[in-house]
């Protein structure tokens, strides 16, 4: 019998096909007569994606372009911060020039980055990941994972299903692991994570009793608590039936990663936790627990970015604490021998290494005539647009995959005309394209930017339509 650790190590070494074989046959059978599966991973990193930092070598970044630039990435070398994604350049689309000014705020736009509304409105409506989750379904329609330098197990930062209905981001990989894979654990340890259905029913009954004495908004508050028990209970029986499938896709996670170090002198472990969260993201997709995962790194309305020790970024030479806020402002100051802007690029590169591992894992799982990655879309963005204090005239995206051929993406450098110029488009149009691609026929998304009301802000990005 293959234990989980061996199994997952195997997948990351590209041996997944072997171990996955029985399960993958099921996937084949399931997909033979139906449209190809569609999955999406959003990766939202705080502190801005500086456009220049992701500009491929050999493609000039013109100032305030007036026309659409649509170029191939053939033979193009990716810049330092994106280098780990070089093997996937043929699947990559660098999407530049989309604005998101409606969301504008300071440091981080939180929910608005995926929602396209003024960021102060917080969980104002349905974010694009939640919209895609609604369309794609799953036992867990949406999985939210993340990392933070703060000692929190859970946060509500980037995803919402409706006004005031934020979805959680689990920040503790050990807990996330228990939450999503307990049903696949060996029987003894499973028992200790499994919640007795009778207990859930008993508690649901308790809540109903209290609820019956309440009125109006108070009833609704408890309704959410009740729903939590009911959905956990309903989910549990479904999960039990998938136990083998889950067991096979369960990654190993170091129990020590549950602890956050807030010291400014020792390793923060933030990148190890990020890697674990990407492993868990891959596991939930492979197990068929969900089709939409959002991984966020230090994102959220009052957050700033990832802080770490220089030693955690690789062989820089010197060590020292690199504070996200400090490098956002002190671009030309030195931190551990690096300029602030260099630290920024190093942190991105480290994140991209983890993302690349996720892609590699999905590529190692055959599906249909190809791999799982063929039917998966990775959307990488910042919740702070183009900078630490962004203007949001441009909100860069790095996209990998084409969602099973549903979108004309891959091997492309697309840059839209500058903010306010004819042909300029907003990120809302990109999100409309994504939602259209998974069967939501909407014509627009979020709230339009009234400062450019003379420009058409409806419909998907024509360039992406298949």
């Amino acid at each position: 019998m293959i234990n989980r650790r061996t199994f997952f190590r195997g997948t990351t070494l590209g041996l997944g096909g072997l171990y996955f074989a029985p399960f993958l046959r099921q996937l084949d059978a399931a997909t033979a007569n139906s449209p190809s599966p569609a999955r999406v991973l959003f990766f939202v990193q705080a502190n801005g994606i500086y456009p220049a930092e992701i500009q491929p070598q050999g493609i000039d970044r013109t100032k305030d372009p007036a026309t659409l630039e649509d170029l191939s990435l053939d033979g193009v070398k990716l810049p330092f911060s994106l280098e780990p994604l070089q093997p996937y350049a043929n699947k990559m689309t660098l999407l530049h020039g989309l604005s998101g000014r409606i969301a504008r705020g300071s440091h981080s736009m939180g929910f608005a980055a995926l929602g396209c509304w003024p960021c102060g409105k917080k969980a104002y409506g349905e974010t694009v990941d939640a919209g895609m989750a609604r369309q794609l379904g799953g036992i867990y329609p949406h999985v939210g994972l993340g990392v933070s330098n703060k000692e929190m197990a859970l946060t509500y930062n980037v995803t919402s299903v409706g006004r005031g209905k934020a979805l959680p981001t689990v920040l503790n990989p050990v807990l996330a692991h228990q939450q999503f894979f307990a049903a696949g654990a060996a029987s003894d340890s499973r028992k200790s994570f499994d919640v007795d259905t009778c207990l859930l029913d008993f508690l649901a009954d308790d809540v109903k009793r209290m609820q019956s004495r309440l009125d109006g908004s108070d009833r609704q508050k408890l309704e959410r608590y009740l729903e939590a028990f009911e959905s956990m209970s309903g989910r549990q029986s479904k999960l039990a039936k998938m136990a083998d499938q889950i067991a096979k896709a369960t990654p190993s996670v170091d129990p020590k990663l549950g602890t956050v170090s807030s010291s400014k002198t020792g390793p923060t472990g933030v990148f190890d936790r990020l890697e674990a969260q990407f492993d868990i993201a891959a596991g939930t997709l492979i197990a068929g627990l969900t089709n939409v995962v959002t991984v966020s790194a230090a994102a959220g309305l009052d957050r700033i970015g990832l802080s770490c020790m220089a030693s955690e970024l690789g062989s820089i030479g010197k060590d020292g604490y690199i504070g996200a806020h400090a490098i956002g402002h002190g671009k030309f100051q030195h931190f551990a021998g690096l300029l602030g802007s260099e630290c920024h690029a190093h942190i991105r590169r480290k994140c991209m290494e983890k993302l690349a591992k996720f892609i590699k894992t999905l590529e190692s799982v055959p599906e249909g005539n190809g791999t799982m990655m063929d039917n998966t879309l990775v959307v990488y963005l910042s919740d702070s647009a183009e900078g630490h204090h962004p203007i949001c005239h441009e909100w860069p995206f790095v996209v990998i995959g084409d969602l099973g051929g549903r979108l004309k993406l891959g091997n492309r450098y697309l840059r839209y005309p500058w903010y306010g110029k004819p042909g300029h488009r907003t990120m809302a149009s990109f999100y409309t394209s994504l939602l259209n691609a998974v069967g939501d026929p909407r014509k627009d998304f979020g709230i339009a930017d009234s400062a450019i009301k003379d420009l058409d802000q409806t419909g998907p990005l024509a360039e992406l339509i298949v």
């Binding site: 000014r101 409606i102 003024p118 102060g120 939210g144 000692e151 929190m152 197990a153 859970l154 409706g162 006004r163 005031g164 209905k165 979805l167 959680p168 689990v170 503790n172 807990l175 228990q178 028992k191 200790s192 994570f193 919640v195 007795d196 009778c198 207990l199 008993f202 508690l203 308790d206 809540v207 209290m210 004495r213 309440l214 009125d215 109006g216 908004s217 108070d218 009833r219 609704q220 508050k221 408890l222 309704e223 959410r224 608590y225 729903e227 939590a228 028990f229 959905s231 956990m232 309305l301 009052d302 806020h325 400090a326 402002h329 002190g330 100051q333 203007i391 930017d449 009234s450 400062a451």
Partner: protein, 703 residues
């Protein structure tokens, strides 16, 4: 717009609207009674119709700008119909509702509608939304929107009708959750399943801000398992099996391997223990019977140990242990109110002042019927306030959230500009100044706004309990207070700083840094604070179309850069921030008093304006003199009382709370400016102790 699941149930529509409508109705009735419009029982007969009231209202006040031709903001209301319940024009009606609720429209320079007519239109709208099954948010209840309730109406002359709050359930604060878990299952490694939203310029723990939903439950469940394992644990010690160090005898009896079949009595004893320690009460007979049946079934299916842990979990996750409930009990009085049950009062008092559950004295009083009157509540409130052994983080918490100086640690400053900047020390100094003023308890607000005393690099050593110098390694933190380089630290603090340079918390370096940018002062945010927190004004969010950037010209002073905000369009809002924010230019962005800026004499003039009080509207030469002027103002004092109300009640005030606010203000004035008296007044007020009677609200909404 959200249509709640609940609205789809057969009895839901009335239930959904009841509190809401009554809440508004209270507001409406209050005004209408005040002007003799109608009696509270006559609302069904006088409910206005669209054609007779709403349409003429729109025609008179709205359609002029929002008509057919080139309507303002692309909102056209000339053809809107009253068929909301059929789903027509809902979006426009929502906008109208919010504008009228906040009295943001018609614009201030246009003729304003009668206050009672506006209220009747709102009442009509709420009824129509309810008929359409739409849950509409009352923005006045949102954190940050409290000042929209007109001050003049809250503090009008004459008698206000008795206050009350709506009944409510309120998720407990994270600190309370963590403390109680450690209290009955100490030593477990617990995660933090929920947090408080970051407050910004509002208070953080409002009753309408938090629910426990799906993912929280997963985290709660993880903690519950840790606690249940500790509370029902068998350990091996030298070959014998013993109970774990946190496992009570009552629970050990059930898991003792010798005891193959626990008796009902043993189960009952264990359940009693759990209820006493987790919910702080006896189980009812029915609860005990349900729990016994559950425990037996669970032990049968999962074995004794897991079965007992399930039982423990059931109590730990009981909604009562995670939500505080304030429903009231007994017969409604003549004002349609019920008083909180003694235990509800005990929890409400404890959670208002501390992060722990009620102490034994209060629980005992509650159970012996000695926490049922205002006097009895007052006894315990004063006892807790006066007892220095009881930790009351909520007191400093109020001042921290009110003044917002804690934000100083989040403002990045380039170390090359000032190597002595130590924001955490500055914040700690202000904490101590505040608690010093609180302990003196005389003219507290005045002292907070005018004192030239300050703590400097001062802390109380946790071991010796004596004064000590904070952050001894960075000796230069005192530069922030303009103390000379050779200043010798003294343990006897606070020390006096020049009265011409410092006046209270707003001149503490911590506050000035918290309200500064990375490289300069932030006169706008300082002005916003003064406008909102002292003058009770409201400033809308920056319009989406405004590219709010000051020129990036290093040869200009901040005041010169801010000239761009004096354009007519910007000035509509900036007239409320700049004049009260720019006097703080007497300090630099590290909080140091200065006389020059860019080599020229710094200009520190400003003005108190648009205060609504003629005598308060004066030009001021600098921040110190502005603060002294503000500290003399009864309006400023009342606005402070309103903020204290919000923090300690966990919600915004409404016109229903006028009596409570006036009583609190009187208590403060009559006690010579005692913060303790102010808090005690709030926690013995009708708003704190009384809840709207639910049956009464049903009756009214169904009429």
């Amino acid at each position: 717009m959200t249509i709640s699941k609940e609205m789809k149930s057969d009895r839901a529509p009335h239930r959904r609207v009841s509190i809401f409508a009554f809440w508004r109705l209270g507001f409406v009735c209050h005004i209408l009674l005040a002007i003799g419009y109608f009696s509270p029982t006559a609302n069904a007969q006088t409910t206005p119709a669209f054609d007779t009231l709403v349409k003429p209202f729109l025609k008179k006040h709205c359609v002029g700008c929002h008509g057919a031709d080139d309507p303002e903001g692309d909102i056209s209301l000339h053809a809107i119909t009253g068929h909301l319940s059929k789903g027509t024009g809902i979006k426009s009606w929502e906008k109208i509702y919010h504008q009228l609720t906040l009295a943001s429209m018609p614009p201030k320079d246009e003729e304003q509608p009668d206050v009672h007519v506006r209220a009747l239109v709102l009442q009509w709208l709420e009824q129509e939304f309810a008929k359409a099954g739409i849950q509409i948010e009352n923005k006045l209840a949102r954190p940050g929107f409290g000042n929209y309730v007109k001050h003049e109406l809250l503090f009008a002359d004459g008698k206000a009708s008795p206050s009350f709050s709506p009944p409510r359930v309120w998720r407990i604060r994270p600190a309370v959750y963590e403390a109680s878990l450690q209290q009955f299952a100490k030593g477990g490694k617990y995660v933090k399943p929920f947090t408080l939203k970051s407050g910004g310029h509002t208070f953080r723990d409002y009753d309408n801000q938090y629910v426990i939903a799906g993912a929280d439950l997963a985290q709660l469940m993880a903690n519950t398992k840790v606690a249940a394992r500790l509370l029902a644990q068998i350990v091996e010690d030298k070959g014998t099996l013993k109970r774990g160090s946190r496992t009570p005898e009552e629970l050990f009896q059930l898991i003792d391997p010798e005891n193959k079949q626990p008796s009902d009595e043993q189960l009952q004893a264990a359940i009693n223990w759990l209820y006493h320690h987790v919910l702080l009460r006896d189980p009812t007979d029915e609860e005990a019977q349900r729990m016994i049946a559950f425990a037996k079934a669970s032990m049968t299916s999962d074995g004794q140990l897991l079965g007992v842990r399930n039982m423990v979990s059931a109590v730990l996750l009981h909604p009562e242990s995670l939500y505080r409930s304030e429903q009231g009990t007994g017969q409604a009085d003549e004002h349609g109110r019920v008083i909180l049950a003694p235990r509800e009062l005990a929890f409400a008092i404890a959670y208002s002042l501390t992060d722990t559950r009620p102490d034994d004295a209060m629980l005992e009083a509650a159970d012996n019927g000695k926490l049922a009157t205002r006097e009895e509540v007052q006894t315990h409130v004063e006892r807790i306030i006066e007892d220095n052994k009881i930790a009351k983080p909520r007191i400093l918490g109020f001042f921290r959230e009110y003044f917002e100086y804690g934000g100083a640690v989040d403002v990045f400053k380039d170390i090359a500009l000032n190597r002595n900047h130590s924001p955490d020390v500055l914040v700690s100094d202000t904490d101590q100044l505040i608690m010093h003023i609180y302990q003196q308890d005389k003219n507290v607000l005045r002292e907070l706004l005018t004192t030239n005393e300050s703590f400097v690099q001062h802390k109380i050593d946790s071991k010796t309990k004596k004064s000590a110098r904070a952050q001894a390694k960075s000796l230069g933190a005192h530069f922030a207070y303009n103390l000379p380089p050779d200043w010798k630290w003294v343990p006897d603090q606070p020390i006096e700083l020049p009265g011409s340079q410092r006046a209270g918390i707003l001149t503490q370096p911590s506050w000035l840094v918290a309200k500064s940018g990375n490289f300069d002062n932030d006169a706008i945010r300082r002005g916003l604070w003064v406008r909102g927190k002292l003058l009770g004004g409201s400033i809308p969010d920056i319009p989406i179309t405004v590219d709010a950037q000051l020129p990036n010209d290093e040869t200009l002073t901040l005041r010169e850069k801010m000239k761009v905000t004096t354009e007519a369009y910007c000035w509509k809002c900036h007239q409320n921030t700049n004049p009260v924010g720019l006097p703080f230019e007497m300090f630099d962005h590290f909080g140091r008093w200065r006389t020059k800026e860019l080599g020229k004499p710094v200009v520190t003039a400003g003005a108190i304006n648009n205060s609504g009080i003629k005598s308060l509207n004066v030009e001021v030469p600098d921040a110190v003199r502005m603060l002294h002027k503000l500290a003399d103002s009864p309006r400023v004092r009342q606005v402070f009382v309103r903020h204290a109300f919000r923090y300690f009640m966990g919600r915004n005030e409404t016109l229903n709370d006028a009596a409570t606010l006036r009583r609190a203000d009187n208590a403060y004035v009559e006690s010579g400016g005692s913060m303790k008296a102010l808090i005690a007044s709030l926690l013995t007020s009708d708003s704190f102790m009384y809840r709207e009677h639910v049956a009464a609200s049903h009756h009214k909404s169904e009429n």
